[in-house]
């Protein structure tokens, strides 16, 4: 078999974490090879290595049977490999034609009309019809995608990698994309198609490879495997059916009715009860972050209504939400939670300054000390030095500090957005314990996560999101993981 691309035993480490462990992948010409796996399984990393954006730490790559040494993005292009990302990789202020022709201009002098014509030719070959004179910023996401595909074709791409290509597409656009991909197949192009959406795999691909925790669990012919089998491979254990009772919880503290935060969240309705842990599960990019933000007032609500403790609210900024007792621990602690060059103590007190302020805006040192000490102890932040600069703490402790900051505000409703990302196992377990304690104390928690196992384990109930909408609710039971994955990866047909 003449493989276009062969990856053998490819490994990749980030710091001291092994992200890819001896992964094999072979791409046959004229086929679509789907790459699936849960978040963090390593799909994107594998593709980026092939496309030359990351160097590999081990293993071999062969293109058309020839071993490839150093592989950077330029070399990858020369070898006919190109990658299309979720975020379009184009220059927004330049026209479609200019973007397509970038890097392959015929000569020093450019004749605009010639450029337009050539770009139109390329688009026509690919089967698209776009106005080549428009600046790329005026195009829809799908159109930008088409431009990138056309550009890749014009660069003689033989292996096209597409990462979550349908994330921003409507049903019609998706169909169009599939037609395009089939046409590429006919021309002998090999397509690596990364996706979460299993029906797409069965509609489009000849082969499917499942990654889990950086390992290649298996490669199968699509015609010889079922959805359940794929899910099993992704998750690692068989389907079990188990029922769990709901724990008793108190009154409704938060209610959303048809809340939208465009374009990521559409018409979400939910109720949060006192003392419960409500999980929001779903694949990365399903809108959980934006849902958390709109509840917290960090993003404007585009539609719908929100009620806190029975009162209608309209938050214009986070401080409004904080006044109602709502706190949000954002997922990006470096970008949105902590000030890296400030000390631990100053970071921890940052959201609760009003409570320790006396007259004239002066901060009460003894109250301040007490609060900081309390938080450091409660969350076991190590080393317990409040004057130490935040940057110097480990990732796990930084996350603890971020959570401590919000606990110090004594919230009634605490939202946590992907709280255990980038956190070591020990800290993770510690945090799980802390969250349970909080719920027992009567604080209501809203937990978003793309780690289904985790969110099912922690929550009373889990609401599943896909593409900004709620699809289903499950009881909080880790045994339901397969079921959950099934629900969120299957298409609207389900």
């Amino acid at each position: 078999m003449n493989y276009m691309v062969q990856m053998k035993d490819v490994c990749k480490d980030f710091s001291d974490v092994r992200v890819l462990d001896c992964v094999d992948l072979q791409i046959e010409p004229g086929t679509v090879h789907a790459l699936v796996g849960e978040n963090g399984a390593g799909k994107s990393t594998l593709c980026k290595i092939l496309a030359g954006f990351y160097p590999r730490d081990g293993g071999e790559i062969l293109v058309s049977g020839q071993r490839v040494g150093k592989l950077d993005s330029r070399r990858a292009l020369e070898l006919g490999i190109s990658m299309i990302y979720q975020e379009p990789n184009l220059a927004p202020l330049m026209t479609v034609a200019e973007n397509i022709m970038l890097g392959q201009e015929p000569g020093f002098v450019i004749n605009a009309n010639q450029s337009f014509r050539r770009a139109e030719e390329i688009l026509a070959t690919a089967g698209f019809d776009l106005n080549v004179r428009l600046p790329v910023s005026h195009l829809t996401a799908h159109e930008k995608q088409l431009v990138e595909i056309a550009k890749a074709i014009s660069l003689d791409t033989r292996v096209l990698i597409m990462d979550e290509a349908t994330a921003a597409l409507s049903a019609v656009e998706k169909e169009h994309l599939f037609t395009v991909i089939r046409k590429l197949k006919e021309q002998g192009v090999g397509v690596i198609y990364v996706t979460h959406i299993l029906p797409e795999v069965f509609e489009l691909a000849e082969w499917v490879t499942v990654l889990r925790n950086g390992e290649n669990i298996g490669t199968r012919k699509v015609s010889e495997v079922t959805t359940d089998e794929v899910i099993e491979m992704m998750v690692g254990h068989k389907l079990t059916k188990a029922t769990v009772e709901h724990r008793q919880t108190g009154m409704e503290v938060l209610r959303l009715e048809n809340v939208s935060n465009l374009p990521e969240v559409h018409g979400v309705s939910l109720s949060l009860f006192q003392g419960e842990i409500l999980g929001i599960g779903g694949l990365a990019g399903s809108g959980q972050r934006e849902l958390a933000r709109v509840i917290f007032g960090a993003d404007r609500m585009d539609a719908g209504e929100m009620y806190v403790f029975g009162e209608k609210v309209d938050f214009k900024s986070p401080s409004d939400a904080m006044n109602c007792g709502i706190s949000l621990v954002p997922r990006d602690r470096k970008g949105e939670s902590l000030v890296p060059e400030m000390s631990l103590g100053h970071n921890v007190e940052m959201a609760s300054l009003p409570t320790i302020t006396k007259l004239l805006g002066i901060i009460d040192p003894s109250q301040e000390r007490a609060m900081i000490r309390n938080q450091i102890q409660q969350l076991d932040i190590v080393p317990p030095m409040s004057g130490k600069v935040m940057e110097e703490f480990s990732g796990g402790n930084q996350q603890k500090a971020a959570i401590a900051k919000w606990l110090a505000t004594k919230p009634k409703i605490l939202i946590l957005d992907e709280p255990t990302v980038g956190v070591d196992i020990r800290t993770r377990e510690y945090l799980y314990g802390t969250l349970s304690e909080l719920a027992k104390e009567g604080i209501s928690l809203l937990l978003t996560s793309s780690d289904l196992k985790e969110v099912l384990r922690l929550s009373n109930r889990v609401l599943l999101m896909r593409k900004g909408r709620f699809v289903n609710e499950l009881p909080g039971d880790p045994a339901m993981e397969n079921e959950a994955l099934r629900i969120i990866t299957l298409g609207e047909e389900e």
Binding site: R74, L90, M94, E98, N99, L102, E105, V109, I110, H138
Partner: protein, 327 residues
């Protein structure tokens, strides 16, 4: 694909504003429409315009050059020194442009190879060069100011002719047309705008992003040097603080001209129209018979107003270049 319809382009608006200002001044200000005033506008336009063309190129590629004012001054100092030593036009030209290019290379290298942000790198150059200019002049001539008369430079700028076109104006035209052509009709221009628009994408398709950026800084440096030397001819002398403030004025002109703050697009035409506006206001106000200080206020206020309007309207997405309206 929604179209903006019959909205005017940004350059068209700038043209309209310029015409309005001309009409206003022609009516209200005595002597505006006459020869000396027009010549003054032309001279101011020339000098700032040449610098602004260079700045446009740098900004299109995603950078910024804060050292142009100091390069301007440094070139002037070189000219004074060579004048004192008795050299001729050819050597002066070579030395000035050469110095401008050299400094541009240093700027370009700090940004691409050393990894400094353009703002920081060129700011440091601005200060360093100004000091070097001063001490060079003091060291060789011994003065902080020097008269320079009877050179070709003067003839380039101060021709007493009934026409309001100076040779230096032609130099501006050449620079502007050259810049425009380079930016819009050549591969290099595509590369520059691609680099400014999306560095990663450009690099990925093989655009030599480092080389491209260095070249833009070289162009900016050379043009600033030329402007500095023309200025010597204009005021027939050199003072060590010549050119101070030019960097920010050129930046303002490029922004008002419709360039994107983040890079990826710049309009030479827009920049020139902005420079024209600034020059018109400067000259018109100076003719009003009001004190110098009022001129300064008005100039500053106009600048501010223009910047504010630019930011506010661009946020509403008014069509920015001609290209968006075709087809």
């Amino acid at each position: 694909m929604g179209r903006v319809g019959r909205a005017l382009t940004w350059e068209a608006w700038l043209l309209i504003i310029n015409v309005a200002v001309i009409a206003l001044f022609a009516n209200m200000v005595v002597g505006f429409a006459q020869s000396p005033a027009v010549l003054n506008v032309s001279r101011a336009l020339t000098i700032l315009g040449i610098i602004a063309v260079g700045q446009s190129l740098v900004m299109a590629a995603g950078g910024v050059d804060l050292s142009v004012g100091s390069i301007f001054g440094f070139a002037a100092v070189l000219l004074a020194i060579l004048y004192k030593l008795g050299y001729g036009f050819g050597i002066m030209l070579l030395a000035g442009v050469g110095a401008g290019c050299f400094i541009g290379i240093i700027n370009g290298l700090s940004v691409t190879k050393l990894g400094f942000k353009p703002f920081i790198a060129t700011f440091a150059m601005m200060i360093a060069l100004r000091a070097i200019a001063y001490f060079t002049m003091k060291g060789t001539i011994g003065l902080a100011a020097q008269g320079v008369t009877g050179t070709v430079w003067t003839d380039l700028v101060r021709v007493q002719s009934p026409l309001w076109l100076y040779p230096s104006f032609f130099i501006l035209l050449v620079a502007a047309v050259g810049g425009w052509w380079l930016l819009n009709n050549t591969r290099f221009g595509s590369w520059a705008r691609g680099t400014g628009g999306n560095l990663n994408a450009a690099r990925a398709v093989g655009v030599p992003v480092d080389r491209v950026r260095i070249i833009t800084y070289v162009a900016s440096g050379a043009l600033a040097a030329v402007a500095g030397m023309l200025n010597v001819g204009d005021i027939q002398g050199v003072r060590t603080f010549d050119g101070a403030g030019m960097e920010l004025l050129s930046l303002a002109a490029v922004i008002i001209g419709g360039a994107s703050l983040a890079g990826g697009s710049a309009s030479i035409l827009g920049t020139l129209l902005a420079v024209l506006l600034i020059s018109l206001v400067k000259v018109g106000v100076s003719l009003m018979g009001i004190a110098l200080w009022y001129q300064q206020i008005i100039t500053g206020a106009v600048l501010l107003a223009a910047l504010v309007l630019t930011r506010l309207s661009l946020r509403r997405g008014i069509a920015r270049t001609e290209k968006e309206l075709t087809k």
